[in-house]
């Protein structure tokens, strides 16, 4: 039984000595190219989900703060009556600023305002622009897109916006962490619009009815002022969508300063 084995071993040894390994074999190079390709694909995923995500999250919130700062440094609009300035009395009363100002629909990719959501973190702020195409959603300075043909902030109907769940700055990464009553605040050149989170729905990507003036009831005339945030679900997948709804609570002009709901995170962001 030993004889054939040792003969084989000797044979292998002889062949190895007789024919030195070729420097480059086709199969060897092909294998290495495929392995390298696999590593590059994994690197691309890491780039998309972490590197670029962190990069965009930083630049989007930085530019949103710059925008807020620019608006703060501007002179108050001359049309703003002086009476709306906050009273210097002790406890500021809940002032009534009347009906919210509704801005006209801007051109595609033009800025609408900033989104402040304390539940998404103390350093969270993103700029909302018109349109939901990749030039808005994947932008280094925007990140949140307003669905064309849905209402503007403060208007009766539905102010519907979209952002990425993961990657590209993940504007709505923590959407499933919202709790009933959480403030969702939109800051525009005109003022601050406070919405309160009401509920969440898991829908199919085809569910355009969540954008209706009365969500899920297309054709029904608008009655309330609503906000709808849409993004992907589950995480790292585009199989479904999440729609988060909020109901309008109050409005105040820029001259009145940020509303109490976000005053602390706005102050902490250093835009004033």
């Amino acid at each position: 039984m030993d004889a054939p084995e040792s003969a084989d071993a000797a044979d292998v040894e002889t062949r190895a000595v007789a024919t030195p390994r070729p420097r480059l074999s086709v199969v060897g190079v092909l294998g290495e190219i495929l392995l390298t390709g696999g590593v590059i694909v994994l690197l691309f995923l890491a780039w998309q989900l972490w590197w670029n995500d962190a990069l965009l999250a930083g630049s989007q919130s930085d530019s949103a703060r710059d925008l807020s700062r620019d608006w703060n440094s501007q002179e108050p609009a001359p049309s703003m009556p002086a009476a709306t300035a906050p009273e210097p009395s002790g406890a500021p009363p809940a002032q009534d600023f009347g009906l919210p100002v509704v801005a006209p629909q801007p051109e595609h990719s033009d800025v609408i305002g900033n989104l402040w959501v304390p539940r998404f973190g103390a350093d969270y702020v993103r700029t909302i622009a018109q349109g939901t195409t990749t030039d808005v959603l994947n932008s280094t300075r925007l990140g949140v897109g307003h669905y064309d043909d849905t209402q503007m902030p403060g208007d009766v109907g539905n102010f519907a916006i979209a952002a990425h769940r993961s990657a590209y700055g993940g504007g709505l990464h923590l959407i499933d962490k919202l709790q009933v009553g959480d403030p969702i605040v939109v800051e525009t050149e005109d003022g601050w619009y406070v919405y309160r989170f009401t509920n969440l729905e898991y829908v199919l990507p085809t569910a355009v009815q969540v954008l209706a003036p009365v969500p899920q009831h297309p054709g029904v005339p608008a009655g309330d002022r609503l906000i709808t945030l849409t993004t992907c679900n589950p995480l790292y997948s585009t199989a479904e969508r999440i729609a988060a709804y909020g109901a309008f609570e109050s409005w105040q002009p820029r001259s009145a300063g940020p509303p109490a709901a976000v005053a602390d995170i706005v102050a902490a962001s250093g835009v004033e």
């Binding site: 420097r23 480059l24 060897g28 190079v29 290495e32 190219i33 590059i40 690197l43 691309f44 780039w47 998309q48 590197w51 670029n52 939901t132 990749t134 959603l137 994947n138 897109g145 669905y147 979209a162 952002a163 990425h164 769940r165 990657a167 590209y168 829908v203 990507p205 085809t206 569910a207 355009v208 969540v210 954008l211 849409t230 993004t231 992907c232 585009t238 969508r241 729609a243």
Partner: protein, 52 residues
């Protein structure tokens, strides 16, 4: 391919390892900075909107 690269590199083993590490870092940086953003513009499967 990589065996040939190893043979081409001069110097002792530790120097070759350092050279390969530097080379790998340069390649990864180039991929992350220029190649991936370019590729991402071409293959962007992430649609986050409804109805779109």
């Amino acid at each position: 391919m990589y065996a040939a690269l190893w043979r081409v590199l001069p110097g002792p083993v530790w120097l070759r390892i350092v050279a390969l590490a530097v080379l790998a870092c340069v390649v990864v940086f180039a991929l992350m900075t220029w190649v991936f953003p370019l590729v991402d513009g071409i293959v962007n499967p992430q649609d986050v909107t409804v109805g779109g």
